[in-house]
């Protein structure tokens, strides 16, 4: 989905603020949130796509105003509520206030296709990323959909997360690293001498004739 998480190229953000000697966890709640995250993932095994999509469904304003451990907490708690482990009302009673969760999953698995391991494209092939902007989970960022690039590397075949995240069968599909010239992505505003590689499943790609 073209959600708030899909941040590549979004303009308006300020400087990157680095902390000197940043600790692994800033506060005890971050460590506890990390343990809760692991516990839910172990108990429910939602798969990488399902877990990530639980965060992608967060309200955009909440997403931008909370740190990553809060994203994880919100995502896995949403999964726990959706699995019937607990209700949002019970959580709010226990917490003594609002416990915002992610919005409902509007995504559907893409049409089923046979598992594939042999790559269709070779290194050097020109490809175009399909443009379809699904409501559900995908690893084709908005900023490369519809854009043309060159296959730089074949990385083997892995489960397509778009299917896995929405109850589809696990189906392998080849993955590639595709190189895009900055000008292809950002037009005349691009700086020279910059390229971006994005790692993409074969199903996202078509031949660029």
């Amino acid at each position: 989905m073209d959600g708030m998480h899909d941040l590549g190229g979004v303009q308006g953000f300020g400087p990157v603020e680095r902390e000197a000697a940043e600790p692994v966890f800033h506060a005890d709640w971050e460590r506890r949130a990390f343990r809760v995250n692991l516990a839910v993932l172990i108990a429910l095994n939602p798969g990488g796509g399902g877990f990530r999509h639980s965060i992608e469904r967060m309200d955009p304003a909440h997403y931008l105003t909370s740190t990553y451990y809060e994203h994880w907490l919100t995502g896995v708690t949403t999964l726990a509520v959706e699995a019937g482990v607990v209700t949002q009302q019970e959580l709010e009673q226990r917490a003594g206030g609002g416990f915002p969760l992610s919005r409902p999953d509007r995504g559907t698995a893409p049409p089923s296709a046979p598992p594939k391991t042999e790559p269709r494209f070779a290194v050097g092939d020109r490809v175009r990323v399909r443009e379809w902007h699904p409501l559900g989970h995908t690893r084709a960022p908005r900023y490369v959909q519809g854009r043309r690039g060159v296959v730089d590397r074949f990385d083997g075949a892995y489960n397509l997360p778009d299917a896995e995240a929405h109850g589809g069968t696990k189906v392998t599909d080849p993955t590639y690293s595709v190189r895009f010239a900055a000008h292809e992505l950002w037009g005349d505003g691009a700086a020279p001498g910059e390229t971006v590689n994005v790692d993409l499943w074969e199903r996202y790609l078509e031949e660029d004739r």
């Binding site: 998480h5 941040l7 590549g8 190229g9 303009q11 953000f13 400087p15 990157v16 603020e17 680095r18 902390e19 940043e22 692994v24 800033h26 709640w29 460590r31 949130a33 343990r35 809760v36 692991l38 516990a39 839910v40 108990a43 990530r52 931008l64 740190t67 990553y68 809060e70 907490l73 708690t77 726990a80 482990v85 607990v86 949002q88 959580l91 709010e92 226990r94 917490a95 003594g96 206030g97 609002g98 416990f99 915002p100 409902p104 690893r139 900023y143 990385d155 993955t175 690293s177 992505l185 950002w186 700086a191 001498g193 910059e194 390229t195 971006v196 590689n197 994005v198 790692d199 993409l200």
Partner: protein, 210 residues
């Protein structure tokens, strides 16, 4: 789906959303609430979870990546293996596991600088770098790294001259990236261990040049 059903569903959702208790519970209380539920339901094995967290706090971190880089600097055959099959070469030093199962190492050179980002999420090579710092997961870095990398790096104190190409790697699938920085001048006499101590986390992400 019938129109009525759809309407009801939307209405229910909106209704639920509009009546969120105010104020928001503090994050500590929210963590405690779901943690207590998981414990009561028998879904929270503290010993297992603490062992995993302990591993992140004490064993995984950029010191591992620094050892990989230092080895590549002193051993040309290892460097070749690292650039050909990063996962296997990193495993030679004992590092591997979740978020490190498919490693690609990208090498800086006089004419090219590499920068790693995860625009969609927070993908990061845990076995070699540990858990990512907060800025790596924050919107400013994720949005700008792919759009204006040279300007962003300059702002972060790393000026990459215009005649050096910048390659950005958005780890959007299964591969996790590690940058192999150039060995700095003046380190000729250093041992492998001393070399490891000059390698920083940020240089292995690509936001710093040594």
């Amino acid at each position: 789906m019938s129109g009525d059903h759809g309407h009801e569903h939307v209405h229910e959702h909106v209704h639920e959303h509009e009546h969120r208790p105010e104020p928001l519970a503090p994050i500590e209380a929210r963590v405690a609430a779901i943690e207590a539920v998981l414990i009561e339901k028998g879904l929270f094995d503290s010993a297992v979870l603490d062992a995993i967290v302990d591993n992140f706090e004490h064993n995984l971190g950029p010191l591992n990546g620094a050892r990989v880089v230092a080895r590549a600097w002193v051993d040309p055959a290892y460097r070749e293996r690292l650039l050909t099959d990063g996962t296997a070469a990193i495993a030679e030093l004992g590092f591997g596991g979740p978020e490190g199962d498919h490693m690609v190492v990208v090498e800086n050179a006089p004419e090219v600088h590499n920068l790693v980002v995860c625009t969609l999420c927070s993908c990061y090579p845990w076995p070699t770098l540990g858990l990512p710092p907060a800025w790596y997961k924050a919107p400013a870095y994720r949005s700008r790294a792919v759009r204006e990398p040279r300007a962003l790096l300059a702002e972060m104190g790393t000026v990459v001259p215009d005649d050096i190409a910048i390659r950005v790697w958005d780890s959007s699938a299964e591969v996790r990236y590690l940058v192999l920085p150039e060995r700095p001048a003046g380190t000729e006499g250093m041992s492998e261990e001393e070399l490891a101590s000059v390698v920083t986390r940020d240089s292995m992400i690509g936001v710093e040049r040594l």
